[in-house]
């Protein structure tokens, strides 16, 4: 007891010294206030103090000690990078991202070592209540990346509105945003002005409310009042860290005999995308996932004890009733949770009926309130929108696969390590694991409503938004698979996918804006690659927003391939030392990367999306505007006006080709307009549109095509003063003969 008290005093002293270091750094750090590294370096003493104490407590509670040499190397590398940060202008290092990635790598190294050192804390059987260190380690990591992320990314999507509601609750003690919009209170957390969203309710006296619920902002208010935007984001980091702790706790209910693998799964969930992104953003999905995990944990405890006391009422009732208050769609999680509680707790009638009644009353009340305030029980949505019968199979497939495979918004696209879920789910199915049943019971009713919607990707958000609530169970699903990692194929996958995920994590954290892709079938990362190579690289990656062959080929190939590869046996020597295959997996990733530019230059051009970056344009503009709401309802394209042209690199797939151009004529002037289609300098066809504002297909050929020649589209016509005539060019299909 005394030792514990002394330990706490020691920790308090270290944290006090760290805070003094923070104050000193804030005062004396030779960096300008707008320097991108300033926040990170100011916070550095606290992060170092936190990591030191986590290590000390870990060792005290029975964990392994970290090698002092390793720590010295980390500190040396950190010192070198801090020096480079401070001296970067004197050394001519023009790219801050390189140094930020270096700092992140050092943090990653420390976290990997510390995670391994935590292993003894979990014993031979997972404890019912994991150490608080499993909360504090992710928290310190999230806080460490917070200043950089917040500096390089403005709040986006729903975030600013949640923050404005928070601001109003914190300072006005109401949810009326009229004065906050008028006083430009958004400037306290972002530079870009925001306005009320379409569909936001207006009160009888002109009050402006947000369509976003107040539950999450209420949780953010205390920290926001103390620390402003950074306080609110730190609260989100704490909620995310709590979610990871809860994930580890929940793992005991399923696989208590695999503590090492549960630790690895916890680390994957905590320190890789997408949860890493959500740790520094304001999204309801994180608290919702936390509530769902807490409720499920309580349900699985009930399975053994089956008697209902205040703990059970609170442990289950509070999360279930809070879920719809966080967002009404989470009622689709709350209801299955009650059903699971009924099933696992020995089918008790009274408590479940009572909770169901309360949940029904709450949901009914919310719908009624929405009807009165918004004139719509679903706020801005319609009943048709949430009617599962209204959607065809393709909508379910697109949304369902998109949540996992989409290069811009999918789980595998942001962190390929999660591809291990494919063999993991197969293993769970083979073992008829109840985890799979719980995963289906909790997710399916919700995903049936969410996945087929036109905004299945989450609107304007980081990847995997709508399915984030299932992430804890998905992480736990990895546990039995990781326990069967004795084969070479498994290690090759761990090495290859792990290294690839590490690289992507560095990119996403260094460039946080790149995780906010537009809903146009492209991604920032692939656009950058296509732009630098002048080749269409995106076509090899799946997109459910712009479906293409890769959209369907990736699932069809990866599901059997990854599953079979995991179980691939090695040769006799490899069986003795399968970890060597990890290096082989990394080699495979590099070899596949080597193939990509060549493939882009050799695989014949099939469909050309004109707005893509590899298409050279002399002028024009994107259609529709990138920021338009529900952009996927429109045909994305490029507006080419009189006097402008574009050139498309073409990889021929034969000697003759038939071209089909999908275009719409925009007449702004009563003068002639023609669009020339050329093969390099050679005229193929000159199209004069007849109808305006109608999508048409212009077919040309078959014509001969010379290798190396680009497709050129030129807009001709008179150009009197005023808006010019032009065409919206969607795509060109090339059928080779």
């Amino acid at each position: 007891m005394r030792e514990g008290r002394e330990g706490i005093v020691h920790t308090a002293a270290v944290l006090a010294i760290s805070l003094a270091g923070v104050a000193l750094a804030a005062w004396k750090l030779p960096l300008t206030p707008d320097d991108p590294f300033r926040g990170t370096l100011v916070l550095l003493p606290l992060i170092l103090g936190g990591l030191r104490e986590i290590h000390r407590w870990g060792a005290k509670l029975g964990g392994d000690r970290l090698s002092p040499r390793g720590t010295a190397v980390e500190l040396g590398a950190l010192a070198l990078l801090v020096l480079l940060v401070l001296a970067r202008h004197h050394l001519g290092i023009g790219n801050d991202g390189v140094l930020a990635a270096g700092l992140l790598l050092i943090l990653g190294c420390r976290v990997a070592r510390q995670t391994a050192a935590f292993r003894p804390l979990l014993g031979e059987v997972l404890p019912g209540r994991p150490s608080a260190l499993f909360f504090f380690l992710p928290l310190v990591v999230y806080l460490a990346i917070l200043p950089w992320s917040a500096r390089h990314r403005q709040p986006d999507g729903d975030e600013p509105f949640y923050l404005l509601v928070t601001h109003s609750l914190a300072y006005d003690f109401d949810a009326d945003l009229k004065n906050n919009y008028a006083h430009r209170d958004w400037r306290f957390f972002m530079d870009r002005p925001i306005e009320p969203q379409p569909g936001d309710p207006v009160g009888p006296n002109g009050e402006r409310y947000s369509r976003h619920n107040e539950m999450l902002p209420l949780a953010l208010v205390p920290a926001y009042r103390v620390g402003g935007k950074m306080g609110a984001l730190a609260t989100m980091a704490a909620l995310t860290a709590l979610l990871t702790w809860m994930t580890l706790r929940l793992a005991r209910r399923y696989f208590p005999e695999h503590p090492g693998e549960a630790l690895a799964a916890w680390a994957v969930a905590a320190f890789t995308p997408p949860l890493l992104f959500y740790s520094y953003q304001v999204w309801v999905e994180v608290p919702a996932a936390l509530l769902a995990a807490a409720a499920l944990d309580r349900i699985l405890i009930l399975e053994r004890q089956r008697d209902w006391g205040p703990k059970e009422w609170l442990g289950l009732g509070v999360p279930v009733l809070l879920l719809p208050l966080v967002k009404i769609r989470f009622i689709l999680i709350a209801a299955p949770l009650l059903a699971l509680a009924w099933w696992h707790a020995g089918r008790p009638k009274r408590p479940i009926f009572l909770l169901a009644g309360m949940l029904g009353a709450l949901a009914g009340g919310m719908l009624l309130y929405n009807k009165l305030v918004y004139s719509n029980p679903l706020k801005i949505h319609t009943w048709e929108e949430v009617d599962p019968h209204r959607y065809g199979l393709s909508s379910y497939l697109k949304g369902g696969f998109g949540l996992f495979y989409d290069a811009a918004f999918g789980l595998f696209g942001c962190a390929p390590f999660w591809l291990l879920l494919l063999p993991a789910v197969a293993l769970l199915a083979a073992r008829r694991s109840r985890l799979l049943f719980h995963l289906a019971a909790l997710s399916l009713p919700y995903l049936v409503i969410v996945a087929p919607r036109i905004e299945w990707y989450g609107g304007w958000s980081p990847p995997f938004r709508y399915a984030l609530i299932a992430l804890p169970l998905l992480a736990i699903a990895l546990v039995p698979l990781l326990a069967r990692r004795e084969r070479s194929g498994a290690w090759a996958l761990l090495g290859g996918l792990g290294a690839f995920t590490l690289v992507l994590t560095l990119v996403w954290v260094t460039l946080p804006g790149w995780t906010y892709n537009f809903a146009d079938g492209r991604t920032y990362a692939l656009d950058a690659l296509s732009g630098r190579l002048g080749l269409d690289v995106s076509r090899f990656f799946p997109s459910s927003i712009r479906p293409r062959p890769a959209t369907w080929m990736w699932p069809a190939v990866s599901i059997p391939l990854v599953t079979l590869l995991w179980w691939l046996p090695g040769r006799s020597r490899a069986r003795r030392e399968p970890r060597a295959a990890a290096l082989g997996g990394m080699t495979l990733v590099l070899a596949l990367a080597a193939l990509l530019p060549s493939a882009a230059a050799r695989v014949p051009t099939g469909i050309i999306e004109i707005e893509d970056p590899q298409v050279w344009k002399s002028g024009g503009h994107l259609h529709p505007d990138r920021w338009v709401v529900e952009r996927t309802r429109y045909r994305g394209g490029w507006v080419l006006r009189v006097g402008e042209q574009l050139k498309v690199p073409v990889v021929p797939g034969g000697r003759r080709v038939r071209l089909t151009l999908e275009t719409e004529f925009i007449r702004n002037q009563p003068v002639p307009f023609t669009l020339d289609l050329k093969e390099g300098d050679r005229m193929l066809f000159s199209w004069t549109p007849g109808r305006e504002r109608v999508w048409e297909k212009v077919e040309v050929g078959p014509v001969d095509w010379r290798a190396g020649e680009p497709l050129v589209l030129v807009a001709h016509g008179l150009a009197p003063p005023g808006e010019l005539n032009g065409v919206i060019l969607d795509k060109v299909r090339m059928d080779w003969r």
């Binding site: 590398a77 001519g92 590490l502 060597a580 990394m586 590099l590 990367a593």
Partner: protein
Amino acid sequence: MKESSSTSSLRSEILRLLVPLAALAAMASFAAREIDPTGAAESGYLAVLAAAVLIPVGFLAPWPALELGLGAVLATAAVWALPRGPGRGTGVVLILAVALAVAAGRRLLRDGDRPSWRDSVSVLIPLALGAQALLRGNLLLDPTVSPRTLVALIALPVAGALAVAVLANRHGLPLALVAGATAVALAPGFNVAATLALIALAAGDLLGREDLGWPVKIAAGVAILAPILWNPAPGAVAAVCALALWRPAVALGLAVPVAVGLGGLFQEPWVGPLGRTLRQLAWLPLLVPAAVVPEKDRRWSVLAAALMAATVPQVPDLSTLAAPLALAALSIRRSGAATIPQRVWTGAVLSGTALLASYPWLREEPLAGALSLLGLPPGPALALWVAAVFLALAGFGAWMGRGWGETVRATRLSELAGACLLLALLLGMPPAGRELLEPETPVVLDARNPVWEAGFAGQVVRSVVVESNLSNGAGLPPGAPVAEVRLRDLAGRTVSWTLRAGEDTGEWAARRPDVAETGTRTPPAWVSWVAGDFFAQRYRSRWTLPSSDRFTQVRIERAPGAPPDLALALYQLEVRR
């Protein structure tokens, strides 16, 4: 399974080679399709550089060689993801340097301080090859394989590594590494002078061994004399130093006449003999401060080393100091209190030198540049500081030795030495200025657009730093004015500074063969970049005002009399307090 059996398996050897080759393929494939030719050339160069470092890393890293895999993947990702320019070069070089350091560190820790001859060789050869690729990476720009390239990139480092392995046999690997690293930092890399010096020292060491037969001793004697054939004066110095490892007193006796002779022959008339001697001697405590507390039976060796260091002619470059300084490194006291701060210092000096010698800096005198980061130029004053801090650390280390365990003492003393170094670097850092241009977005002043100006609200300015280069400026005589930099203060008064060709800025393509042939004078390059088949460069100059003042505007105007096709590219303009 035991590591040794795993590392020696054919499968693991193939994998060690396949990973760098796959990285090379991925980067080269990207470079081959990149549409920006400058970016493509840089990608191609970085691909070759990465492979040249990663292959040694592969043979150095203990199994399962994760640093090899991660280094390869990260270097490839940096080439693919980062825009061309110094930032990308820095990123790749840092990744490669870290991969090499981690692999070497893990391997050295595994093998201990007294590894077998075979283990020493298997560590030192890849380490030397990797270090050479970083220190002499400029040689990798030309993809054609020539005997000169093969000798410079492979033969010299292998010979140097073998020599260090011989030294390690008697002096232990840590001291041999300090000696080798000191010699390598001077050139930088394994050049002929540094390698011959190490070979001569190894030969001298062999002469001192009783267990070797006369054929080996005759060969060692020949090896001691070989440097004299290459270059008599430094060769004689190397021979004396080598002799000091066999017969220290005899070597000291020889060192005196050799020093007198060298002093007489190579005395520079414009520098006083004492000044030159002190300046040269300063390198000894500067790079091997532990030599001030030598092992008792090695004092004669240190004296001989000091005499030789003070008088050896630095022709062609600093690397002629390799033999005396390496000898001094082998003579330091074998206690942790002395060796640990020395190891930290040598590692830091070599790291700094490697950083500045590699792309994108490619500094002509990287060692001097690295030492200057401490705020003083290399010389007696800095040497005094280094020696004083070293003595304080060594004294503290000796005090720690009374009550602390060896491992804890080593760790704590290393950390303390690192902290001192960090503090010194922080203190030596110039003040942060205000940058007036976007990074990597140059402003070009030519006949059509001869003026650029920017305002800043009443900032106190003490100095102005201009990063620039010239196009079509190869024909300009040295000192020709190319632009005028003017600062205007609140009262409308101006002060000006003339930017001159060959002194403050220079031709961007000065290293292109056709321009280099003209003998165009340029200041030392600040940053270089791959421009097709040569390294283009830009320059940095600083103008310090007589006193600080508050200014509101800076204006740069191309010199009116400059040739019509001359263009001045401004990469950065920084005003400092």
